[in-house]
Subunit: 341 residues, 4 copies
């Protein structure tokens, strides 16, 4: 069985295992106050060309999303997000459990535009009953989206601009940041995210690490006392250095980008093959997640040797399939799949 | 610098590193649904002689405490705990952030008694304004306590009995469970906790693992839908198998107990030396945390070569010191400390 | 200026003022434990033919909604509601502030069907990632809806049936219950609500009282400790008797129904006139809220002498108007409006 | 049966009933945006000599406390309060339900001092684990306290000073404000509260109104968007004018002070008689709540004709009694009680 189910089916890059072994007997202070974390922070600040950004490490995505968002919003504010946003759909109401509403905008492809955001802000602001309506306090987007799509630099800048215009914040969920940056269709850099967002995170769990997400906070206002929030939401790892060590390895020698490129190459290979064989896609193939439409018969057949998810049906006989490549996917595995397509 | 600051200063037992390496390229389902987790669950159920208990893995202590407690309490209920309880003092209000009050009982040594609990329950129950007062919904204790002390089997059974009498739950925070079980002064077993509590957890972070806590739920009522709570509180690790792998290694060949014994032996050695040299203790030495009282001059002196915390002052010239041994502490390290006492 | 803005523009029925005066010097216990509340409870139980129902009084609608819903749901559960539901749109995220998500179903007219509800339940239940998705825990509907529409007895029974099938609860927001019951198009009674819902409330604020909502809880499971929830959510009035006194007056001599009939008659008169004059309606006129479509020019003209709200535009030149009649609206006032239509 | 149980046993001052009747058919906008509310705001601002203060009306005390406190605190902050504080003891965890911890200070008489507050602030601030400990974000005191005691002007100023020194807020719960101001032992004025606190409220429920509390916010920072919080916590009354009308009547012609004086006079009469008869007091008699110590035999005897509460026992044979006078208490009633003492 070869798994194209997700980008968290395996462990991590071998360099991380080596670093864990090497550091195992070191004695360090806890809670992310050790030199590995400091070093990783510096490496990330450099990669983002954001020397004044705060960088904090958390364990997983849902935890990171609620910690960041709940640290920003006032009680009567909510988070604008695409209706397919992870916070809205796949976090068991974790955000609501911190007291905040998801303000969903319709979105066919998982993206939202500056125009939509402005409209939503004005709708609340100009309503006679504005005090009875949740006030938008930030915009949440994912890069890439749940559907594997990218925002362009122009789109990001426009979103940031509209946020600044109305004094709200822009937060980018980068659980799969590496795969976004590595895409041939991408024109954004970490530096751009540090310039055109208030806070974002660089996903480790799905891109090379065993676990861990690096929250980058360029906006000074949001840096103060952020670590209290981490502790309160249960995200402060006692042996915080484990996160430092992993992000040190990921950001040494440009590794984060190299391993993402590898996954991107596998995805491109597979996308090309699917196109060549005439498959249509539910969403344009842009990153490591591909969404071809397949007959249920074919799906059944493929499932003998491959693990993958389906995402709803197109008609009685066809469904949307999701194939995901990861930093550990080998070309050989992709070729085996292509052979059976 | 030798560190006696905490039992989370280092990494993990070497067997875990090996297992992570060995399993690294395995492809498994996420979120704790893999065979390593299943296997670890079985090992733990066996160790507890509780074949019907549910076992779930979380990453850290604060997360585990709030996930368990918020899964049990009704909105108008609170958690009875000693005033020094970790949930009350050192979790940045994580429990309150889930909507629940800590109902603190006075405690000189970090322990609370069945009698105290019953009194607190009756006080609310019999008050004319009972509906205006938070209702006790569970009892939270730590084994060992923050002060390194143990509950006896009798004390645990009494607490459980009073909980059952009033239809509330007993939850045991076992962040340092191993060190409690390994103490010469202990008469409790994992089986006892499975019999005389509704839910407890076996700490990994401080006892051999890189991170991870194993929640054991003997009470069937509390098993239903517990995983929803884990996800909502941000505690469901994508690569859940990392937790499974670690607890597999910890519970193979009685390892959890062996490594705890090692830390206990180091602590006993140190406690003996301290006693011999005439130091008094703020709390009786029972586990891997020792609280001798030292002159501030001595403390300053020791700090040149040793890292440790102090816990408040006794008088102008004396403070309470905390020395902690761990599963990775070597006798040689302890001997170096003894030499300088 | 004559106001058709809302059904809470004026005070209350005169009988309530008289009763307040008469009872003013009485000394009674607080918090709803007095004989006026007891008497009002009995009158309401009789009106509902539900001798075993619990009846509790709260001050306002938002408070009632969150108190009821938060008392029912488990932390990982949400409330299914139409997207136009008051809890979703006009309560400043009060429900989310208690930790729960609104699970919105699309609805053109403010109503949702048993079929939609079942589909939503199954979608979550059958999803491979069900633990990552908020679980529906209750269904929230309004009778009449925000758009002035009614559920038929058949529709209510179907909703209740699907709720029971999946072991979730049905809660009916009856802020305007009287106007629903009084409609010529209605086939439901209070007894039906007591039979085919788990909990509902009978609005006083908009139907005759100065303030106050009577929560009726036919389902025994939901009765236990409900008063703790009222207190916790800030809804337990010190001089609770004020609510008892008001509902006593409202439910004496069938008054609640009589005053609602009066508002209904005014609405019918106005609806007839609007129809006669060729106005179309955004929603079918069924209760005391009418939603004719008018030219912006006409709207401007009418605003000289009448106060009312608009609800979005149909096209550049036309908007949806809302005219609301109340228990204190006089036919003369309606006739003045008709004259200027 | 004459009731000295509480100051909310009866209705309201007759002027309020008259005003409700007079205004009953007026049509006004809802939610506190009417001219009665505006007028009441002005009267209160004048009484406080605080022309720039915001004034908002809520229905009850618990609601007011949580709305104010949750509007001020950041998620990781708590409210310093005396351990006997209403928010800590008698609100069913309403504050915790908004996510915040009560940071209790020991207090024998219900008061806390600036010195205690500073110590608590520094303890958290200077702790090595400060990020793991709830940060004090405001100080909550009651004037008068639950035990009927007053803060002096000096004490209030000191508390305010220490709050400003550490950039936290001072909130005064004035549920019984009138009775505090009316005491012979008081040296504070409403103007002082407007100068030496950030936000406070003037209780109506217990001092002349049917219900209602007037929140006065001198601190500009805390004024912004406060009404969103009111709505979210369920405290925005649809017919908001009911609150405006009541506070208009209370603050016309110095009435709030006059009616409080009347209650004070009754309390003084009773206190004098108790002293003369040799009763000791659990707390010094300062306001409308008296706490004499009585034999259980005497208590039983008195209960034939009088209703009152007891507050714990002193020894086997003696308990603390609470007698409360109110704005409607008549001297005759007090004299009847005195006769039986």
């Amino acid at each position: 069985m070869i798994r194209f189910e997700s980008d968290y089916s395996e462990g991590c890059i071998p360099e991380i295992l080596k670093a864990l072994e090497k550091s195992n007997m070191e004695q360090t202070p806890g809670y992310g106050m050790d030199f590995h974390c400091e070093n990783a922070r510096d490496l990330i600040r450099k990669a983002c060309q954001a020397p004044k950004a705060d960088v904090q490490f958390l364990v997983g995505g849902t935890q990171t999303n609620i910690t960041v968002i709940a640290s920003i919003l006032k009680p009567y504010q909510g988070a604008i997000c695409p209706e397919s946003g992870h916070i809205n759909v796949h976090e068991t109401g974790a955000l609501e459990a911190t007291g905040h509403k998801c303000l969903n905008l319709p979105s066919k492809d998982g993206k939202i535009s500056a125009k939509q955001v402005e409209k939503a802000i004005l709708l609340q602001k100009n309503d006679a009953s504005f005090e009875h309506i949740v006030q938008p306090g930030l915009v949440y987007i994912s890069f890439p989206t749940e559907t594997g799509l990218l925002y362009s630099k122009k789109e990001l800048m426009d979103l940031y601009k509209v946020c600044k215009k109305y004094h709200i914040y822009l937060f980018v969920d980068g659980a799969r940041m590496g795969y976004g940056l590595a895409s041939k269709k991408n024109d954004l850099t970490l530096r751009d995210f540090a310039k055109y967002s208030d806070v974002f995170y660089i996903g480790g769990t799905k891109v090379g690490a065993l676990f861990g997400e690096a929250v980058v906070i360029p906006n000074k206002e949001l840096q103060t006392n952020f670590r209290y929030h981490i502790k309160q939401r249960g995200g402060m790892l006692a042996k915080g250095r484990l996160l430092g060590i992993q992000f040190e390895e990921l950001f040494k020698q440009n590794r984060y980008f190299k391993i993402s490129k590898k996954a991107a190459a596998c995805a491109e290979l597979l996308a090309k093959a699917l196109e060549d064989k005439g498959y249509e896609f539910a969403y344009e193939p842009q990153t490591n997640q591909l969404f071809p439409i397949m007959s249920n018969k074919k799906i059944k057949e493929l499932r003998k040797n491959f693990a993958f998810h389906t995402f709803g049906s197109i008609d009685k006989n066809h469904s949307i399939v999701r194939f995901v490549t990861s930093f550990l996917t080998e070309k050989e595995q992709v070729k085996k799949l292509i052979k059976e397509l």
